[in-house]
């Protein structure tokens, strides 16, 4: 189980360039699903089951992409200037490492700051790939890179880059493996370009026309002093109530709570004041779709060392299987 997460997190897939991640996911799915498609924006769409009399068409989206950087200029001295892909926090940049899609590796650092007590602005940073000049630089304008962040097994918790959102991708695959029968038509979307504005989910949902939809993502969890995140590790999967761009359908929230109670797994309610997920795109598709989201609590989101708890992960799989194999009541 951890091995799958390790494999997924260590594959590079910045927004818009998810093909390598899509390939490892597709490989995992081969023996469990026959109906697999790739759409225009690169979403991987997997269909399982047929809708029976008590069933619905249910769309579940987990995004494949991760944050990264893109080269904007190579200076004469060989240093690489870059722009962000998705929300990259300058505070995590100094000393971090990146690997480009062409295999080139580099370290990130910044120009001498005027005030060392302040985090420099984004444009003050550069990537050093060891080139002596622009002529011998192995990367060029438009090349993309992701942050390096090795997978580490801490026992109950695991640490890696890109647990956002490869942990949810792996979780979705474990779920698919465990579903034997279902009254529903299940459409699983491994979506693209979530980190730049939930773009893949938008066009995927348009094509799918589901009765019900929800996103699987991570949600920031922390007990760092001075923060007020409600969720924390080890307290169970988070059922989203609201985030910046999205309010869950109350019926979907109750359905999820009810499912967790039935199988006696702990859960927590998520109210997120920063960021959003694919659910916002799914909800607003066509004439609107009842939507919600389930999140894996995750510390240090968008850093090279994100952390999740394996009990939360296991409990969320159990909840997913419960939700997707029983008739749905949105009460």
């Amino acid at each position: 189980m951890k091995e799958l997460i390790r494999k997924f997190t260590q594959t590079a897939g910045p927004s818009g360039y998810e093909s390598a991640v899509r390939n490892v996911i597709r490989e995992e799915l081969k023996s469990y699903a026959s109906n697999i498609q790739v759409d225009t924006l690169g979403n991987l769409i997997v269909r399982v089951g047929e809708k029976n009399r008590n069933g619905l068409s249910i769309l579940v989206a987990a995004h494949m992409d991760e944050i990264g950087v893109i080269v904007s200029h190579v200076e004469k001295n060989g240093l690489v200037r870059f722009s962000n892909i998705g929300t990259v926090f300058p505070r995590f940049l100094p000393g971090s490492r990146v690997v480009f899609l062409n295999g080139t590796r580099g370290v990130v650092n910044n120009e001498k700051p005027e005030d060392i007590t302040k985090i420099p602005k984004f444009e003050k940073f550069f990537i050093d790939v060891g080139a002596a000049s622009d002529k011998d630089c192995p990367v060029k304008i438009g090349d993309l890179a992701v942050f390096e962040g090795e997978f580490a097994d801490y026992g109950l918790n695991i640490v890696s880059k890109a647990l956002d959102n490869r942990a949810a991708c792996a979780l979705l695959i474990e779920t698919i493996k465990q579903i034997k029968t279902t009254p529903h038509e299940l459409i699983f979307v491994f979506s693209t370009q979530e980190e730049v504005g939930s773009r893949g989910a938008l066009t995927a949902a348009f094509g799918i026309e589901a009765d019900l939809g929800f996103a699987l993502d991570v949600t920031p969890a922390s007990h760092i002093l001075g923060t007020k995140m409600q969720c924390d590790l080890g307290k169970g999967p988070a059922i989203k109530v609201r985030d910046v761009n999205f309010i869950s359908d109350p019926g979907v929230v109750n359905w999820m709570i009810d499912g967790a109670k039935k199988i006696r797994v702990p859960y927590q309610l998520e109210i997120l004041d920063v960021g959003s997920t694919d659910a916002r795109s799914i909800q607003m598709t066509r004439s609107g779709i009842a939507s919600g989201a389930l999140s894996i609590p995750c510390r240090y989101v968008h850093s090279p060392s994100e952390m999740i708890n394996m009990n939360d992960y296991q409990n969320m799989i159990a909840l997913m299987v419960r939700l997707l194999t029983n008739p749905v009541s949105l009460g």
Partner: protein
Amino acid sequence: MTSEKILTSRLKINKAKLALLEKLSNAVGVSGCEDEVREIVIEEIKPYVDEYNVDAMGNVLAVKHASIKNALRVMFAAHMDEVGFMLVGEDDKGIFAFEPVGGIDERQLVAKPVVAGKDHIAGVIGAKPIHLASAEEKCHPVPMDSLRIDVSPANSGRLKIGDFATFATRFQLSGDSLFGKALDDRLGVASLIELTKKKADHLEILFAFTVQEEIGLRGARVAAYNFNPDLAFVVDSTPAFDFPAYEPGVENSRYNCRLGFGPAIYIADAGTLSDPRLIRFLTKIAEENHIPFQFRQPGGGGTDAGAIHLTRTGVPAVSISVPGRYAHSSILHAKVKDWENTLALLEAILNNVDRSILAEER
């Protein structure tokens, strides 16, 4: 790469093309009020397209049909609108308060000549004169809400709240440079008009002359929904900040794009991650046809592609821009050669685009 050396363009910029650009640049078409530009567009394309219509938003949607069935549906889009102003209050006879339409740099408004309303009434953006400004006020740009458009009392009755205004700049050709207002994106509009004159019977060619790009890609959204294309190319103008760095000894690493280096191909902006298959296609045909090009620096900003690529189940899209200095001000400076090479690249698209580009997964 020096652009001068490898120029072998087929679509030379002649007097007729310059006259068309001049007419388009001088026309008034602030977002939401693109009528004048639309009239010119329709007049120009009528002889060359199989059909056209004006949709509910005001987009001009024109089609050149393919001679074969199930032809590839290729969309080209360029926005007709320009940034400008809307009159929002009359303080005194002929003295109008105004608000910006689109992203205008308010530091450069004072004392600029403008034209207002359907009759192009001449006016000027007035501010408190320097003789009366306090030492503190001299240190800051004059905020827009303390500026007024002054058209003289005699013209008071000819304008009303809600009328549009824009800069009065007249188009000028100077050597190999183009100067004019609204070249963002009349360069794109003129390019698409030229493209309607080209033949490519194997393609269903869909031309969208869009409205309201500058205020949020609004026209393109419905145009793309209507056309439902297989892929889309957006033609726009993007700012060139290609000056020496303002700090001595520091390399200018944020130029966005450069004049004279050819059409700027987009890889990533705030609204779109261009389809990599189309980037590869453009790079390939540009190289094969010896058309100089550059990549626009990835970063912020956006074009109609932001709306088009998210339409329905998604549309592979990429933007191509003619570089221009001083965008979103009263005057833009572009190069004849860059426009010529943009036209050459667009023609190369028509000659080379086919379904095989999309055979591979994104």
